[in-house]
Symmetry: D3
Subunit: 334 residues, 6 copies
């Protein structure tokens, strides 16, 4: 049976569905009776729910962040929909389709993964190709890499976002490299692959997106560097010789400097053509993703401008606006 | 009949007046009955109003930003005044006295306009005088210039504000020029006239103050430059010769650089005595306007300080405070 | 009888206690009856209180910031505790134990004062020792110095905080000086004593913490300098000769530059070894105080991180977190 | 006869060639005799020259910046080459091959121009295509556009540099647009064409590279905007209708915002997808040009690093360095 | 006999004049003979001088910074003038006309002083008028105030500069105050008088301009505050009552905040109308002084631009330039 | 035989000593004869030397950076000492006492090393103690750590500087920890040990101080992190269990954040008490080292101020100055 998502609920609907429970509270109404209030969430949004005459027993039967089976009825109250529950109980996470609860890339993860492998396994430089293989042979890493978002909120904030962002950047690098002879193709592609790889451990993304403690204390740049050092140590098993010192140095430098400036958290600024190009492509792709998403997702037709984007500190122009016509001078001036 | 303004309404008043409608909502009360809620506004403030048992038909009969004729009764509810409406309908904008709905300069716009013309028509430099005439002959421009505020919120944010700010700066320049020989009087006065002229198209000010799309995307500096180039092309019709190249360059430079620094949106910093003086007078007049307005308008006698001014990131001292007396050390220390 | 503090009140308690009254309002309920609402506060927190059927007479009988005797009963309402008052009247400040109403250093003020005097009266330099005596002989100053907090919110924001911060810094300086030969011990200790002494007049701390008008307009650095100049003029009465010009200059420089940079409000940067060391110790002690307080006071065991600290613009890691475990990659990756 | 360039001169060579004269001085030797000293320059460098026993007459016979016919002999003096002149006289600029005196793009200007025209004349949007035609029909503009450098020193600082930079960016945009659906291809290409077009008037590039007065006072962004407004006014002659208001606004916005931030001289930040992409491509191409040029042009094989680049405030890594080997720890550590 | 200044010396002149000696060196020529080399300076410039065959005895007979009587002959050497001395000896400072050695205001110091006294003695506020009198009665202060420059290099860097700058600002304030009702005239004038008064001790200006140790360590803002506090203590002797607390606080605040921002060395930003106006006038007058001086003093007619001004980080446009004509596009484009 | 250092050479001395050769040039004198010029350096300074009538053969017989045996005579020329060589030849580095050529800590390296080992081997935490042992057992690391400077120019720029800086910070931490309960002693000491350990590979210090390529491209923070990860992997060999995850995370965080802010190259800001304290002690010790060194090393008694320190952008006050006395106002004013 198809799931009914939060954004499909209507006044009067009967409800019997699994949700992510958050903001659980035990409250007392005006008559002194206890009740439990919580939010029921899935990837489309959240709805408030109440179970009347429920006390400590129910309150302790599940935790914030658990999945719960919720039964009850949807009704309109003071202009908003809410759920009056008849029953709520903890559901096993195993029975849950996680993708119902977290936003997901619109692209096919399998195909993206194939393109990633294609780029990496066709690298000319045998050391870099072997290094890539060491990463691809690590199942846990790959599992994380294809699931991880590229960010918690800023851009590509959905399951598969890191993979999508990485493969798009590889495609772009592939097309731009002919313009910049003197820039090493293999290094650029490998740098693109690894630049955000540390996010696999920086972020948490099992039920919701957040930062791990390691992510906060160490950050994806240093984590990525550590992963690179670790895998580079495995390369001689494949090639019989260590990754050449200068090659490895150049690759580390790319991971370290890809944010472009110290203020943005890179302890080194780009000092090679490859590091420069990696930073430029990364900046372009994250910014283009933000502006196009803001314009596309804004459904408010009353204004020609998107809501304020706090990261970029601006609104974007959607167009079609008649804002100018408000000016009396304008009316006769044009 | 004199209008009763929002800030004159009292508990029990019968109401039959035109207001600007905003924040329109269709809501449902606890018994499930629909009602319409909206804000009624004029230039003195706003009051919440409800029309009970009114549904979609009424809700759709007017838009946010429309003028409405509102009939009903004022009453006190939970410590605040509100209006219980008996009738609400869209009013024709033509019948409305716009100045009732927007704040207005306290000065006489006619006299301010005369002083502006006086300065401009007495310029010694025939090219600049002719250029000024080209602007003054453009009725649409003049209509906008005398109505436009100088800002949406920051300073001179009222109808006629641009005119008042401009003429005050001309008066100031007139008095300061003798101190700075080597500074061209005609250029300074013309630069003052044009520095914010682009606001005529940057801002919207028919019913409320805001930014036009052109204002957001291009900004008053570039708009002003465009207006200047356009009018300069008309000068030969009056004088028989083009505006001398260097003179025009110096004037453009003044408009471009009047914000003083790149970070404040001027793509060039002042590099002539005239541009330097224009920037200094503009900065002084806008800041003095802000501090004097904040001190004057603050009616809170409980504190010696005005509310926080987010533009200047500070509070101002109104004085008469006894704040010091709170300190025990102080009591015996002085 | 021991005082029952706000954080000890329980549903059903009878109340007969003195509180600091704030947020006083005269309101009207749905039936049109007036009532008085206010907050009752002490150093442990605040609780909302209502006196039903009380009008203008009660409302005017005390002011915000007064101490009041409150009688009534504590009850739970919509999940929160509130007080239904039966009687409220202004209480004399003289009868009030001020320390019940303001947070206080955990150290013994008497002992801290003795350590301060010990350091100062054992200074080798006779001019500086005499200068210190001039401060210590000023009873009003000393009364303020031992009561004043070191800040309103940032750090050591409690009665005695300035004293505690100062003595701790002296202890630290005492231990560090052997590492930096060429740094004058007496100057460092005297500079530590005086660096924040101006806070005695900058802050208000009789009933709550705030800034005096002088504090806002002049600031503790300039106030401290003024106090230093004034006391230095008294030194010849003790020693028979003026404080040597260079010595006084070096001390003034330390007070002036102790914030380290112009952006932080010091009009001079440290340019002597003693000023440099003073700034370094001050920075260390204020920051260590903040991080240790945030970690210690945070009772939220659900997260490994403290709430956001706006001054330092970061959260602190409390540890013991399992945040990392949320990541699916992590589970198998480690 | 082929020109012998400055970097081809050898000790003992007879000289009879045209050079650009700079740094002209009239000096007196130890014996009191006057002589004329000057620098002889072409696009490969400069060499010092002296004409003994030459006085005021010769000194005044040409100006700095003139072309001169120089006859004499090259000789080694204190380790450097210099020219001892027998004759020097002013040469007519008409006889001079300007490209001998200024660096030149390595690409074929004719082919670049064809590619530029190809992109522009194949635009789908009839208004933008007509606008492009208005520019291309302006012979003086085109003559400037194909000759102008893209910068005085920073990047593409050679004759044809603006054209090369523009066409490269169009090629790049052409390849990147498929990645960013929702971004208008015609607007992006037209924005790329116009973003630096104002440099045609901002820079001077007849005999050496510099800034015109208009360039200093107004800058290429405002000049470009003026050129755009002027040409847009001609469009109706071709299409019978004005350029749509919003389309023109979006294009102006792109020119205005292409530096990305206010601090870099753009009075507006990019607020449309097209403006965002234009800025990203411009930043990438200018930076890649700089790093690749610095690496390629550095002939110093003693160090693995290029000279300090003051614009980007860093050195670049050329590689092949053994710098690490200097560390004693390193020797045994690896 | 009229002094011959450095800028009046010609080849062949006999010299017998007093100069300020600087850059003294004892050197050895190629034949091993010792000689003394030094610079002879007055307010118009400096000239190099040598005394052949002079050893340690002469070298030690005067110090850098002394006045010396120099006898010898001016001659041209390698294109520059120098002096071959026959005799040099230390001269008594008492015999020296100091104004020959330091630049001086072009205004009449007596008249400026009278205007200053006029403003101050006509203040309406009796407290401020008495405070002004306390300053004016202090002869040492007045002697310093009329001699002191307003800066070492930036602006008004000549004897009498502080007085000239102060009186000009008073004149300007006098004319601007009518535009800003709500701004206290007496406070503004008194604030202008005192804002830079601390420079009397911050700077040294007996033989050349520099900073005193107190100036470096404490700075003119804190010195000025100290002077204000000291004089305010004398007011009761004149008026029988102390300067009202709030009035004095407002005046201190003006001195403290007149640089406008913390980064510029003011530990407080302007928070009263009077402090705001003082800062604005100060900024305007110092900047206008700089731009007009740079334009006026630049004698280089080869360029339309002044030399780079490092304080304001820009060149100024003198005009009359033909810079644009260098552009080939331009030639046909206009 | 004791070495005669550069700063001990006198006019007329015969020379037969080993120096570091730099700035080698092959030049031609006025008569056309070739000669070799070079600088001879040791840790006390450098002296210019010439070998007349020496051509390409000698020039190529050694490289810049080689040690050379130099024979010749010291003589005074134009006021400076120089060496006229009779013979120069490459010397074997093995025969050279390296400490003659590089500045060295004044402390006993053996004792410093013992103190370092003492702190580390007495750590209570068995995991951290074992980790420390892993570093101490690595002979190559220890050899680098005791030789490495703490910086190239800024502070502790001498052989043994890193060790001295580290041990001093441990001593300081030891004394400060009692003031900050809640701060883990073992973590702080271990963090101090490792914070700059990456400099062992970042810097080069065999013959002169500089940066390795790895140092430039990766930097000591990331290098240190890599060393920490590597050694942590060896800990289980000693303890039988891995370093606890959170403990290692906290230690990595300390290394990463010890510069305090992103702008200073730390990709993370301090977020634990231990990281905060490490940063504060590091900042204090480096700054105190700079100011005390500048004051101590400045031998210029003509001024009360040290030369400009470009890192800290200020001069330091040495004291004893009479600078104030230059002011005429001052003379009578005090």
């Amino acid at each position: 049976m198809t799931r009914r998502f939060v954004d499909q609920l209507r006044d009067g609907d009967q409800l019997d569905e699994i949700f992510l429970a958050t903001d659980k509270q035990l409250r007392v109404n005006r008559k002194g009776a206890q009740y439990v209030q919580l939010m029921l969430r899935d990837r489309t949004g959240g709805i408030s729910a109440r179970l009347w005459n429920a006390g400590d027993h129910v309150f302790r039967s599940f935790d914030d962040g658990d999945f719960v089976l919720a039964e009850g009825k949807v009704q309109l109250f003071e202009g908003s929909l809410q759920v009056i529950l008849t029953h709520v109980e903890r559901a096993e996470a195993e029975k849950v389709e996680l993708t119902d609860f977290m936003p997901h890339t619109e692209h096919d993860v399998g195909k993206l993964t194939e393109r990633l492998r294609g780029y990496l396994l066709r690298l000319s430089n045998p050391h870099l190709r072997a290094l890539a293989e060491c990463f691809l042979m690590d199942d846990a890493f790959v599992r994380g890499f294809v699931a991880c978002p590229a960010g918690v909120k800023l851009h590509h904030a959905y399951v598969g976002g890191l993979l999508e962002h990485t493969v798009t950047m590889m495609d772009i690098a592939d097309r731009l490299l002919p313009f910049y002879p003197g820039t090493d193709r293999d290094l650029v592609l490998m740098g693109v692959f690894l630049h955000d790889a540390g996010k696999v451990r920086e972020l948490t993304y099992r039920r919701s997106f957040g930062y791990s403690d390691e992510g906060q204390l160490v950050g994806h740049i240093a984590i990525g560097l550590e992963m690179l050092t670790e895998k580079a140590a495995d390369v001689p098993d494949l090639t019989g010789e260590p990754v050449p010192r200068e090659l490895l140095l150049r690759l580390k430098h790319m991971v370290l400097s890809h944010h472009g400036t110290l203020e943005h958290g890179s302890p080194r600024v780009p000092m090679t053509p490859e590091a420069m190009l990696l930073h430029a492509i990364d900046l372009m792709d994250t910014r283009m993703h933000m502006v196009l998403r803001d314009v596309k997702e804004d459904r408010n037709s009353q204004t020609a401008w998107t809501p304020y984007n706090p990261t970029l500190q601006r609104r974007f122009y959607k167009g079609g606006g008649n804002g100018d016509l408000y000016s009396p001078a304008m009316e006769s001036y044009d």
